[in-house]
Symmetry: C2
Subunit: 491 residues, 2 copies
Amino acid sequence: MSKGLTSRKENYSQWYNDLVIKADLAEYSSVRGCMVIKPYGYAIWEKMQSVLDKMFKDTGHSNAYFPLFIPKSFLSREAAHVEGFAKECAVVTHYRLKNSPSGNGIEVDETARLEEELIIRPTSETIIWNTYKNWIQSYRDLPLLINQWANVVRWEMRTRLFLRTTEFLWQEGHTAHATKEEAIEETLKILDIYSSFARDWMALPVVRGTKTEVERFAGAVETYSIEALMQDGKALQSGTSHFLGQNFAKAFDVTFLNREGRLEHVWATSWGVSTRLMGALIMAHSDDRGLILPPKLAPIQVVIVPIYKKTEDLELISRKAAGIKKKLEQEGITVRYDDRDTNKPGWKFAEYELKGVPVRLALGPRDIENNTVEIARRDTLEKSLHPFDGIENLVSDMLEEIQSNIYKKAVDFKEKNTFRVDTYEEFREIIEKKGGFVLAHWDGTNETEEKISSETKATIRCIPLDSEKEEGLCIVTGKPSAQRVLFARAY
Amino acid sequence: MSKGLTSRKENYSQWYNDLVIKADLAEYSSVRGCMVIKPYGYAIWEKMQSVLDKMFKDTGHSNAYFPLFIPKSFLSREAAHVEGFAKECAVVTHYRLKNSPSGNGIEVDETARLEEELIIRPTSETIIWNTYKNWIQSYRDLPLLINQWANVVRWEMRTRLFLRTTEFLWQEGHTAHATKEEAIEETLKILDIYSSFARDWMALPVVRGTKTEVERFAGAVETYSIEALMQDGKALQSGTSHFLGQNFAKAFDVTFLNREGRLEHVWATSWGVSTRLMGALIMAHSDDRGLILPPKLAPIQVVIVPIYKKTEDLELISRKAAGIKKKLEQEGITVRYDDRDTNKPGWKFAEYELKGVPVRLALGPRDIENNTVEIARRDTLEKSLHPFDGIENLVSDMLEEIQSNIYKKAVDFKEKNTFRVDTYEEFREIIEKKGGFVLAHWDGTNETEEKISSETKATIRCIPLDSEKEEGLCIVTGKPSAQRVLFARAY
């Protein structure tokens, strides 16, 4: 449709790629699997960051910064962690380059080899717990509630913009507590922050739950996640919050004197969301014309396009537009007036549809005469004519309405595409033909989980927290099950 | 003095290290030369970031994000750049680890060797200009005004917290322009932003100027810097803004069609400030009791300490303190009420002096009776008693006064320690005995500059922009000089 965007029906995956690139969100760099986040995409990420950062601070967390590098030996300290993370990593082995003896370019100086290789952090538990060891002595030093905004590197073989890239941006929270109960409470508090952020800002309904052993974070006792449903029926894990028990405290020997004067190991959590959220945001709402952004995260909320033939018309329109812009900005709305003479209005309309600007105002000579404005909504593509007076209230209300309409659509989609299934046959048929979330009984074993996943490519996304605990029989083995779990094919 | 802080007189360098560590700003990590920025230090950096970020955005810049990795060959593309930056770099050679055959730990998988090594960015000109090549076709795409907040790595042999670390945080702006004039204007606009940020927020007077050829950024046509004077008489380069001419455009073949339809190379700038600013802030103002922070960058602007013996007194005091806190917060002031029962008031007083909290309020039972508050200023250490009513205006005014007093002190110090010198003998004596900024005539040659630097360890910090262009004779060779240049020993 718009500017050569592949339609979702034709090829969903291609549509996503086209959209990310044509809407100027990101592109691949010349470094394998690494992306460049372009200004428009980064502006959305910055809005996400600032909202999340405030939510973390309002709940008592502080930001800090830990090194990019992790000594290789640190990764082996926690037994499960090494299995999960010490695989596809970027490894620094040397610290100097020199001019090639041939005089042509530069080469690695083999005399400058590190004694111990450094790994670019794939996640920072090890370096952080090695640091916490010195920060924590007594119960007075607890809880320690720290977050870090950082880049991390995981050497992925197959990459997709925002969804899976070699380097990505994220926040990682790492907290230390005196008791198990407090650490679990923290894990759930963060899960709440993530799910309310998804709902209230991204207009994205999510399912909250715990991961199975197979899908659990390497080193965690329990992993909680939020799972969102994309328009192609695939699930996207959008954030995780881990209760780490005393695993890292034991691996790095982090103890504290409790109130009774006894030495105990500290209890831990870690949690993160990443630029992957950008992928969720893009895929959940957008259409064949381009992005649909929830107004609360849109870098430009309203665009004003002048429509004119004569220069004197433009002058009149510009004066009027400046008035509207000012009024809207007083309401806290972000407005762009696009009077570039390099492109026609039709081109601009398509461009701002592609970029997902929630509200477009068009102003022509007749509008000046009649004191009217044409308003177009990006979500429904509806156009209407309104008197100029009170336009700021109208637009302000419309932005709120768009925010809730997008959310409602996503909720409807999720409900229509969540299936309760009681036989494996039905399960396979739905996963194959419709996709979506499938709630089914499972006997709780890794074997059954792996059988289902290898036969259908659907995995257990989570054991939902918020659904009723209905008993039943496993769809594969017929063994008893305490509650339905959530299956889907996933990104 | 405070908590075992070495005094400045005794050992300035040790004082600085003690201060950074004891005030909980940063510490060395277990990775050589890399620091951990602790929450209190990071909170100051976040304030700096948010102010600078707004200044960049207000002047039309957008943020984006480019890869951490730079292919080795990119560094060789710009001839001067490779000499300056392709030396002490972290080099990624492998992308996988495996379990050691011995079963003991992990090791680098030698089969996973990269075809071309990747360098952790020491600065991003090369990867960014390689990207700009695809973003710029016509004059309509210009100017391109982009900034990035990122981590960078330079493998420094001798490191000092904040001042010189292997990994550090910074912002790097990279802009592209259609004309030379516009690029130079941008370079100077940013220099202005840096110097007004230093003055208005950091309370730090700086000298603005151009670098000599020897000190110029590798790949720049002209480097501008801001230079600040520390209390030990050494200079600290606090920010640089480079006019890159067409060097990178030519190296990466970035051309555009101008308005006349002719193909031209683009004109470029780059500019940055880093966590080094933290070092400048700490060293410029602080004393033997600890940090002195300008109120505008202090994470906690006012602390309230209750002084009590009986629990019922604490209740009364806490109620009063809550009232003060609320009033101050309504004025936009950041307040901490420290009613921890784990430490005595005297300990708290020393602690907040160490941490540089600008204003301390103490409230005891007698204050409750008399409706008074004791106010202590961190900069002058003055204490006074004030009636409770109108306290918010008093504190608000006091914060402003502290901000300007700190600035005035720094200006006085800089003026007292700036010397105009006309003979090499006098030059050597001042550099050796007093330190400070020395303004002297120089014949403009690299040879003389290098002779002075090897004999005195003083370097030309900059050729000042704002001083009168007074002619004279070089202090070493007696050859003519068009203006005095600024010498100092430097960090």
